[in-house]
Symmetry: none
Subunit: 408 residues, 2 copies
């Protein structure tokens, strides 16, 4: 693996364009062992024609056997070591609701819960799964809680009993434990620092919890609802990743429809282009902004969604839908095209899985292999062999003529 420092040293500004298409959850499995995968079953004449002109392979998002969440699955595609650069749940939770996280922010995932008013012991970790309306009202109330030692506190509703807490200020430190004991009959845990530098921040968060719980206890009593306390998990700082435009000397754009993917792209330093909800909208955005960027991250969400539904045919249908717009994208004449996914989501599993991703890489400078269709099995015998997500962007950079020679 080439590291970001080496990339930064070798990368050059050039007039070439790279298109990275991420079909979320693309990798699949046959429903019966001898059957096709979703991608193999889908009618994809345009992807097949592109695969025939490309070099293909299977790519591991994080490491063999590791099922990635959306964060690591994308960060590795953007060239970051997904183990070194783990983005924690608190940050992803904030990104997932479209919160504009700033460098230095500390974020946590919050859950409203129920505690016994006498003993303080947790009686329901999800506060009877209260509705989103009540959750939102409670967040609004908690937004009024002031905290000395930070500039701003944001409490943002996520869904039902879930919320996001963001502290903004100088000197907030990573390395904090959560408060949820993961069982009932015991009180919430205090936030603790796992490294000495974080002790002050732990103290701040505990102060916020004390105040927030007072507000919630009072509100629950007055309005007769079960959300009389809360827990925090996954406390983490905005990771301060090296920014793609600096590392790769490219103007980088993200075209995606869901907040989570826009958020991860923003962590990496991409510009987030505003676009509509359909694949066609995304293609229109790609066309409009084609001249303004060197690198495009083009994200198609619904393939993953149908995989999580366990709906093999519906997942194949979204792949076919993407195949129909592919010629319009290729008509823009990118110098390098990569098509792959961030992780597999086989309908058979109804969930993310650890399986490798089919990947195709096209440029003028690839050595074609024998693959004439795009699918897991042709890719298994492809010329890229078994590769890692983190190596795809360096390869794209090389094929775009954007990397200088290393050493004399």
């Amino acid at each position: 693996m080439a590291d970001l420092e080496l990339m930064s040293r070798l990368s050059d500004e050039e007039e070439t364009k790279i298109l990275l298409v991420v079909l979320d959850g693309l990798g699949g499995l046959p429903m019966i062992p001898e059957g096709p995968t979703e991608l193999e079953a889908a009618r994809t004449p345009n992807l097949d024609a592109l695969a025939a002109r490309s070099i293909c392979g299977l790519s591991t998002p994080v490491a063999p056997g590791i099922t990635p969440g959306s964060g690591p699955g994308h960060l590795s595609l953007f060239g970051y070591d997904p183990i070194e650069c783990l983005v924690k749940r608190g940050v992803l939770s904030a990104l997932g609701i479209g919160f504009d996280l700033q460098p230095g922010d500390l974020a946590a995932r919050g859950n409203f819960c129920s505690v016994d008013p006498e003993t303080g012991e947790i009686t329901d970790r999800r506060a009877g799964r209260i509705g989103s309306d009540l959750g939102a009202r409670l967040c609004e109330k908690l937004n009024g809680v002031q905290l000395e030692g930070v500039d701003r506190v944001f409490v943002e509703p996520v869904k039902e009993y879930r919320f996001a807490l963001i502290l903004r200020g100088e000197g907030l430190e990573d390395g904090l434990t959560g408060t949820d004991p993961q069982e009932t009959g015991v009180p919430p845990l205090p936030v603790k620092a796992t490294r000495p530098e974080a002790e002050e921040t732990a103290e701040l968060v505990n102060q916020w919890l004390e105040k927030a719980r007072e507000v919630l206890a009072k509100d629950a009593q007055e309005n007769n609802h079960p959300a009389n306390s809360c827990n925090l998990r996954g406390l983490a700082k905005e990771p301060g990743l090296p920014q793609m435009p600096d590392v790769y000397k490219m103007r980088c754009a993200c075209i995606a429809t869901y907040p989570m993917y826009k958020g991860v792209a923003r962590l990496a330093g991409m510009d987030i282009l505003s676009t509509g909800p359909t694949i066609e909208d995304e293609v229109a955005t790609l066309k409009e902004s084609w001249e303004d960027y060197d690198f495009f991250f083009f994200h198609v969400k619904k393939i993953d969604s149908r995989g999580e539904d366990g709906d093999f045919n519906a997942k194949a249908a979204v792949i076919e839908h993407f195949d129909e717009v592919l010629p319009d994208m290729l008509a823009l004449e990118p110098d390098v095209v990569i098509v792959t996914g961030d992780h597999s989501t086989p309908a058979l599993c109804k969930n993310h899985s650890w399986h490798e991703l089919p990947v195709l890489l096209w440029s003028r400078y690839v050595r074609r292999d024998d693959a004439t269709t795009f699918g897991e099995r042709p890719c298994m015998r492809g010329g890229l062999g078994h590769i890692n997500h983190v190596d795809l962007l360096p390869l794209a950079m090389a094929n775009a003529g954007r990397l200088e020679k290393y050493g004399a």
Copy 2:
């Protein structure tokens, strides 16, 4: 990747012989997408027959997407991590002219330049590309410049306006910036230390520069030529690599015709055998010294040269030329043969490239694959799969029975 310390622990003296053939710039590309590569187009019955008895694959010299210079491309073939062991331009420049660099030497690449005598600003970074004769005379003159604090100063002509500066003495330190501002209209920069340990060395080099520039200014005025100053770049110490004979318990020899490759081999601790300019001369040298060494690095340069010319047919012709002498080499009955290159140089690119190298490994103990010809596409499906240069020498050692079992 097995590291050198492990190799050193496991390696044993044995009566077996390893032949590493490096066809410089071997990897290629088709000129039209569906065409053959240079190696595939070349008529190579002997390489094909050897490939059929071997295990084949594609090998990455440094990392995916990284285009290696000759230094990293060879060091990885000799088992050194090419990122950890980057050999800088100053050292390679000295090696390239056959200078006998010693451990602890500090080397720099020098350029004669023109400066405005009044302001000291650079007016021509290459001194009007003065001829090699004048360059050599100026080097001779600079060789007379004494410098307190070092044992010896060598100023060696390279070509035209380029020279190599080597300081020899105790306590010289790495971590120095160059003086060339890469533009005209500004004066040369002073050498600066990038780490505190190098400050004394920076001061020494700046003293040399002051004296050298005085000599050049005087000579330019007296003899009316434009080379009235000079710049230094790529200042670096001889890297002090672990020596192959110690690590691998092998007597190691280099057969190469160009100073650069002999130089890199010497850095690795090989004996440099004197040989003539043709491939036949090199084979004769191999025969003569066969009994005296366990490991031979056999280098064929012209394949790369013709690739850099962009001459597909001429590159294929040099490969065919090598193929003709291969039976004479195999008649020596080496126990292990590896044929590969240090990097790709596709005629299509007219330059080094990032593409993987075809590689074949023959010994009594390989598992043969289906490859019956030697070429990029058969190797793509070869039994070695996708491998890294740095892993080839450990594999050769194992096939030569020169590595003990690891652990009980």
